[in-house]
């Protein structure tokens, strides 16, 4: 076998979205020689599609805001299943990350006095989302990309080589993490590097590094209707599983309530929540604003009771409650689903999102320019003149790689870190809009920082990569060429997407999920026979055949965990178990790879009880909705 191309680094970041780039900048700033490996061109990450903004309690628009309120909103949105320590760190550090981004050059919409403007968003008590029109994600990525160019030009001056300390390997896919057994623990592993291939040439490449940060994003391409881009094939989740790490909370998948349902070619494409934040309302086929019928008890006090009050809120938020169109995403998605099911949907199985009758055309064009463009250009729909037809679309996975809340390190695999959507815990059972971009920055930075710290402490005690693992990874990667013509990887992928959409989608039933697991077994067998033609150079069929392994592993985790959790909470709705159970809140489902047969094992974990000072941020009455009696704080004396 010919010699494989090798590169040696201190920290290798896999993924070049917001979390990956922030991690890389941090690791490089800590003095690490850092590599970023990404599947697409540098700067084309899925993060660019985030429209709404970055949630951070800077209090620029409403000075009542602070990290405690942000923390509370995040926990409520996640139905108390969040790793509270992550939610705490996130709320505390998000403002610093936004200010930092601004000093790096990011463009933001401004308040009259020149500070960063903040907008309202579902589930956030105050206007909290720093934004640039509706292209905040694009600006975030561009700013981090610009920062990296700046750092590289510094290095060019210092070392004569712009890539001396930070290099981006673009259009390369990692298929395996390389590890050696960790002598310090019985079944743990230690990172030695990563194995992958160049998409252009198909040639293999090995990165030797004692620390790897996974920042590969989500899993949406396992579902038929999704707002996610092609990269979202669960790569990081699968790489972590295969290296011995665990995934938690995988049953919680967020279906964004307002994806396009018509015309067919744009099915799944997102309509940002800011359409609702800026006045857009949801109506059924009878023209009724049905969301008023779907305010759950836990939110009754926080949302308007009448259309009049909801409408007043847009101009006078201090004296009115917000309209229920701005409930957390899971509530809105379920409500739309229920309306459609009861026969009050649009001709194409959605509901109407109406902004045209609410705002003048020029205001819509000014406030929602990208949305206006997107609909006109992708679907020939003029949102200033007609309502949109929308319905739930697979948008985000709350679950992900189990990490230490402070350091982003994955237990069980020394030297492995994860940040952003690929990591689990932060958002509990449901993520609030705007909390994703802030998550990327807060935990991307932390992952880079602690990976650097780990490498520094490691000193010279690095371990060599195991040649046997490289050979195995290479054999695994070329296997589809030996299966020529056996199974079309595209057909297997389509059937996987249909299965997940139909059987493990927004409303779940025991029998259907069991059926899904049976079908996933069949698809696994077929995927193993997926064949490709041609050569390894830029061969998309081959790439998909390799991605199938990841999508199938992740889908199995989702289906198994969803079948196990017999309650409804956030992004997991069981028709056969409609209630939320305080006992189930004490359960975190962790998925790990079974040692012998490549199946997924489920383990129940108990989350750590929330610290008393954080618990004290909530009324006891509210806590009763989430916690068991034994978990509730003692009643204060003299309170009524």
């Amino acid at each position: 076998m010919s010699e494989v191309e090798r590169h040696s680094y201190d920290v290798v970041v896999i993924g070049a979205g917001g979390a990956g780039l922030r991690a890389a900048i941090e690791a490089r700033s800590q003095g690490m020689r850092t590599a970023v490996v990404c599947k697409s061109l540098f700067g084309k990450a899925h993060t660019v599609m985030a429209e709404g903004g970055i949630a951070a309690s800077m209090g620029n628009v409403n000075s009542n805001d602070n990290w405690q309120v942000h923390f509370r909103d995040t926990m409520r949105g996640g139905k108390f299943l969040n790793y509270w320590r992550m939610a705490e760190l996130h709320a505390q550090e998000a403002p610093d990350r936004v200010w930092e981004l601004e000093t790096w050059g990011a463009l933001f919409d401004r308040t009259g006095d020149g500070r960063i403007s903040q907008r309202n968003f579902g589930g956030h008590e105050y206007p909290r989302l720093a934004h640039v029109g509706d292209r905040t994600g694009l600006e975030l990525i561009r700013t981090l990309q610009q920062k990296i160019v700046a750092l590289q030009q510094e290095d060019e001056q210092e070392f004569g080589d712009p890539e001396a300390r930070l290099k981006v390997f673009q259009e390369a896919t990692v298929t395996r993490l390389l590890t050696v057994p960790d002598s310090g623990s019985e079944d743990g592993a230690r990172i030695t590097g990563a194995f992958g291939y160049w998409r252009e040439s198909g040639r293999f490449v090995v990165f030797e590094a004692p620390a790897v940060v996974l920042a590969t994003g989500g899993i949406g391409k396992s579902f038929k209707v999704t707002s996610n881009s092609w990269e979202y094939t669960g790569d990081g989740q699968a790489l972590a599983l295969l290296a011995g790490a665990s995934l938690i909370n995988m049953e919680f998948v967020q279906f964004h309530p307002t994806g396009m349902v018509w015309p067919p070619s744009v099915k799944g494409i997102l309509v940002t929540e800011s359409v609702r934040g800026d006045g857009g309302v949801l109506r059924n086929s009878e023209g009724k604003r049905f969301m008023f019928d779907y305010i759950p008890d836990v939110f009754k006090e926080k949302y308007a009771k009448s259309e009049e009050e909801g409408d007043r809120w847009y101009t006078d938020p201090d004296n009115n409650r917000r309209p229920p169109e701005l409930l957390p995403r899971d509530e809105v998605a379920r409500a739309i689903n229920a309306e459609v099911k009861e026969g009050r949907g649009t001709p194409h199985g959605g509901v109407y999102l109406d902004v045209s009758s609410r705002l003048p055309a020029d205001v819509i064009r000014r406030k929602l320019p990208s949305m206006h463009h997107q609909f006109k250009e992708l679907a020939d729909v003029d949102i200033t003149a007609e309502p949109m037809e929308v319905g739930p679309t697979c948008h985000y996975v709350m679950g992900g790689i189990e990490v230490d809340p402070d350091t982003a390190a994955t237990p069980g695999v020394l030297g492995l870190y994860a940040a952003g959507e690929v990591a689990g815990g932060m958002h509990g059972s449901n993520r609030l809009g705007g909390n994703s971009l802030s998550d990327l920055l807060v935990f991307g930075r932390r992952a880079g920082l602690y990976a650097a710290e780990y490498v520094t402490e490691l000193g010279d005690a690095r371990r060599d990569v195991d040649q046997g693992q490289i050979d195995e990874a290479a054999a695994e990667a070329v296997a589809p060429f030996a299966n020529e013509g056996a199974e079309n990887p595209y057909s297997v992928h389509q059937e996987l997407q249909q299965t997940m959409n139909d059987l493990v989608g927004i409303i779940r039933r025991e029998g259907e999920m069991a059926e899904a697991l049976t079908r996933l077994e069949e698809l696994k067998a077929r995927a193993a026979k997926a064949g490709v033609e041609g050569h390894r150079q830029y061969n998309p069929g081959w790439h998909l055949a390799l991605d199938l392994r990841n999508m199938l592993l992740v889908s199995e985790c989702i289906a198994k965990a969803a079948l196990e959790r017999e309650e409804s909470r956030g992004g997991h709705t069981r028709e056969d178990h409609p209630g939320m159970s305080a006992d189930w809140r004490k359960v975190v489902l962790a998925c790990a790879l079974a040692a012998d047969d490549g199946h997924i094992d489920l383990v129940r974990r108990s989350p750590e009880p929330m610290r008393a000072d954080l618990l004290a941020l909530f009324d006891r009455d509210e806590l009763k909705k989430y916690l068991t009696d034994a978990e509730l704080p003692a009643e204060e004396e003299g309170s009524d």
Binding site: S40, A45, L138, Q146, E200, S229, W230, S370, E386
Partner: protein, 262 residues
């Protein structure tokens, strides 16, 4: 100005009913398969290949290409990512004009004739519609596309008035898709020209009230391969899928160079 700009008629007041009757379209795609060498080792040559696909008129060209890849020829190679017109991966030359495949609707093209699809011009083709983007990104890096400031970093944000922020709004919309640069006849004949996209990204900082590096960037663009090579043909403005007034931005940089004032 000598350029001819296609006028888009304004939309009629009454909304016409959309037609969703599927049509069969022919995509005539410029293929280049570098490993298709001749029997005596002759290098591979590009060729045209026709594919027929059934498509809804409101469907995007990208969707049709995915159908070809999935159902007819798995070797067809092109870049794509978000499919929302925001990442800027799928720029290609469709019927002779640079566009994003994900933002080009079937109904906006003449489907009675084959629709030609080629790689964007002026960059080396690696395979089918995939070109080597390195020279393009190098030009982007060469204009110092990052905020240059002096003094201490503030602990919170720098202040910027809404008016100052608005001043460079247009050029911050760039998605680095290369539609503009590879539609520029100057760039086709002179690969060293910075090209419209790099100038747009320089403009984004030159006119940012927070930035102090305007002089340096203007000097870079004052060089031989800088803004003076622009011949104001407006191809770039026409090609921009984000509606950026690219030519205007280039003119503003030229004016700043003449008057040394931003």
């Amino acid at each position: 100005m000598t350029a001819v700009i296609e006028e888009t008629p304004s939309a009629p007041a009454a909304k016409p009913a959309r037609d969703h009757t599927p049509v069969v379209i022919t995509l005539r795609i410029r293929r280049y398969l570098p490993d298709l060498v001749g029997p005596n080792g002759e290098p591979a040559v590009p060729f045209w290949q026709d594919f027929q696909v059934e498509a809804d008129p409101t469907e995007r060209i990208l969707t049709a290409m995915h159908k070809i890849k999935g159902e007819q020829d798995g070797s067809l190679t092109f870049r794509r990512s978000c499919a929302h017109g925001i990442c800027g991966s799928d720029a290609m030359r469709i019927n002779g004009r640079n566009r994003l495949a994900c933002k080009t609707l079937v109904k906006d093209l003449d489907v009675t004739k084959p629709i030609t699809i080629e790689a964007i011009k002026g960059l080396e083709v690696e395979k089918d519609l995939v070109v080597d983007m390195d020279p393009f990104f190098q030009s982007f890096k060469d204009v110092m596309p990052f905020l240059i400031t002096s003094g201490n970093e503030p602990t919170r944000e720098r202040l910027q008035s809404p008016e100052d922020r608005e001043r460079f709004d247009d050029t911050t919309k760039c998605i680095l898709c290369a539609c503009c640069t590879t539609s520029c006849p100057v760039f086709w004949t002179d690969g060293q020209y910075f090209g419209p996209a790099a100038i747009v990204n320089a403009h984004r900082f030159i006119f940012d009230s927070r930035d102090e590096g305007a002089e340096q960037r203007l000097e870079i663009l004052n060089e031989k391969e800088g803004v003076w090579r622009c011949r104001t043909t407006f191809n770039c403005t026409d090609a921009c899928p984000r509606g950026i007034e690219v030519t205007k931005a280039i003119q503003e940089v030229k004016r700043a160079l003449i008057f040394r004032r931003v």
